[in-house]
C-alpha cells in the first residue's frame, strides 16, 4: 500500500517537473521574442507576446498534457523567435515609414530590407548616396557665406586630368583650382540639394511599396 502511494507520488512529481520544464521552454521562447521586438513600443510588443503565449498554450492543450515535447512542436511550428520578430518589425517599420516620410524611418526600413533581399540592399545603398549628396549640396550652399573663398564646386587639376570636388570650405583654396559656380552655388546647391532629397525620399517610399507588394505576392 505504502509502495503504491510512493509510486504515485513519484509519478505526480515527475509530471510536475515535466510541466515546469515545459513552462520554462515557453518563457524562454517568449523572452527571446520580446528581446527581438525591443524596437517596438513596449505596449505593442507585449500585446504580440501575449497573443503568442495564448496560441502556444492552446496548441499544447490540444495535444494533451503540458509536456516539453508538446511545447517543442508548438514552438517549432511558429519558427525561430528572431524570424517571427523580423516579420513583425519589417511590416511595422514600412507602415511607419510610409506614413511619416521621415528619412530616418525610410532608411531604417530599407536597412531591414537590405538584410532580406538583394533589391533591398541596392535601394538602401542608392538612398544613402542620395541623402548624403543632397546633404552635402545643402551644406555647401549654406557654408558659402561663411567661407566665401573656398566653399563651392571646384575643378581641380590633377596629374593627368581634372577632378570635380564639392568643398565645404574648410581648408585652403586648392592650388590651380577653379570655382565653377561662384555664388551660384547658393541657389543651385539649395535647389538641387532639396530636389535630390525629395527624389530620394520618393524613390525610397516607392521601393518600399513595391517591395511590400512583391512580398504580399510571395517573393521574399
Amino acid at each position: 500500500m505504502a509502495e503504491v502511494n510512493l509510486g504515485q507520488n513519484n509519478l505526480a512529481q515527475n509530471s510536475l517537473a515535466q510541466n515546469s520544464l515545459a513552462q520554462k521552454k515557453i518563457n524562454k521562447y517568449l523572452q527571446d521574442l520580446t528581446a527581438a521586438l525591443r524596437t517596438l513600443p513596449s505596449e505593442q510588443a507585449s500585446d504580440i507576446v501575449e497573443e503568442l503565449r495564448s496560441h502556444i498554450v492552446d496548441k499544447v492543450a490540444v495535444s494533451g498534457d503540458m509536456t516539453p515535447a508538446a511545447v517543442d512542436s508548438a514552438l517549432a511550428a511558429l519558427g525561430r523567435p528572431e524570424d517571427l520578430a523580423s516579420l513583425y518589425l519589417t511590416d511595422d517599420l514600412q507602415l511607419r515609414a510610409l506614413a511619416s516620410r521621415s528619412p530616418l524611418l525610410i532608411l531604417r526600413s530599407l536597412f531591414r530590407w537590405a538584410s532580406l533581399s538583394f533589391a533591398g540592399f541596392f535601394v538602401l545603398i542608392s538612398s544613402l548616396l542620395g541623402y548624403f549628396l543632397s546633404g552635402a549640396l545643402i551644406a555647401c550652399a549654406l557654408l558659402r557665406p561663411i567661407h566665401p573663398l573656398t566653399a563651392g564646386l571646384w575643378l581641380i587639376p590633377n596629374a593627368e586630368d581634372y577632378e570635380i570636388s564639392l568643398r565645404l570650405g574648410f581648408g585652403s583654396v586648392p592650388p590651380g583650382g577653379r570655382d565653377l559656380l561662384g555664388w551660384w552655388i547658393v541657389p543651385i546647391g539649395l535647389a538641387v540639394g532639396f530636389g535630390l532629397f525629395f527624389l530620394t525620399a520618393r524613390f525610397g517610399l516607392w521601393s518600399i511599396r513595391r517591395l511590400r507588394r512583391a512580398r504580399r505576392i510571395g517573393a521574399h
Binding site: E51, R53, D58, I217
Partner: protein, 130 residues
C-alpha cells in the same frame, strides 16, 4: 531534360505554388472572418480545414497584425474558459469592403484563367510531351 534542369523546374514550380498560396492568404483570412470574430488559432484551423492553404503558423500572426495596422481588422482581448485571454479579430467596415473587392477580383480572375486552361484539360494526364 538533364537531371539538374528537371530539378530546377520542379523547384521553381514549388516556389510558384508557395507564391500562389501566400498571395491568397490575405483574402482567405478576410473570408474566414466574414461571419464573425475568431482568434488566431481558430483562423489557422479554418484555413487548414477549408482550403489547401498550408499556412506556416509563424506568418499568420504578423499578417494579422499588419491587416490590423492597415485598418482592415480590429482586435479585442476576451477572457476565455480556458483560463487565459484570447485575442479575437474581426473585420472593420473597410475590411469588409476590401474583402468584397478582392473576392470580386478573384472570381473574374480565376474564371478567366480557367478559360485559358481549358485546352490543357483535354490532354490526358501523365502523357509524355512530344
Amino acid at each position: 531534360m538533364s537531371a539538374s534542369l528537371a530539378k530546377a523546374v520542379s523547384a521553381s514550380s514549388d516556389k510558384w505554388e508557395v507564391q500562389v498560396r501566400k498571395g491568397c492568404l490575405e483574402l482567405a483570412i478576410l473570408a474566414v472572418l466574414w461571419q464573425g470574430r475568431l482568434y488566431g488559432l481558430e483562423i489557422l484551423r479554418r484555413l487548414e480545414d477549408g482550403s489547401a492553404l498550408i499556412v506556416p503558423e509563424g506568418t499568420v500572426y504578423p499578417l494579422l497584425s499588419r491587416l490590423k495596422a492597415e485598418g482592415l481588422l480590429a482586435s479585442e482581448w476576451v477572457e476565455a474558459d480556458a483560463g487565459h485571454p484570447r485575442k479575437y479579430y474581426k473585420l472593420t467596415a473597410s475590411g469588409r469592403r476590401r474583402a468584397l473587392q478582392m473576392a470580386e477580383f478573384w472570381s473574374t480572375f480565376s474564371s478567366n484563367l480557367d478559360d485559358l486552361l481549358a485546352p490543357l484539360r483535354l490532354v490526358p494526364p501523365r502523357k509524355e510531351d512530344r
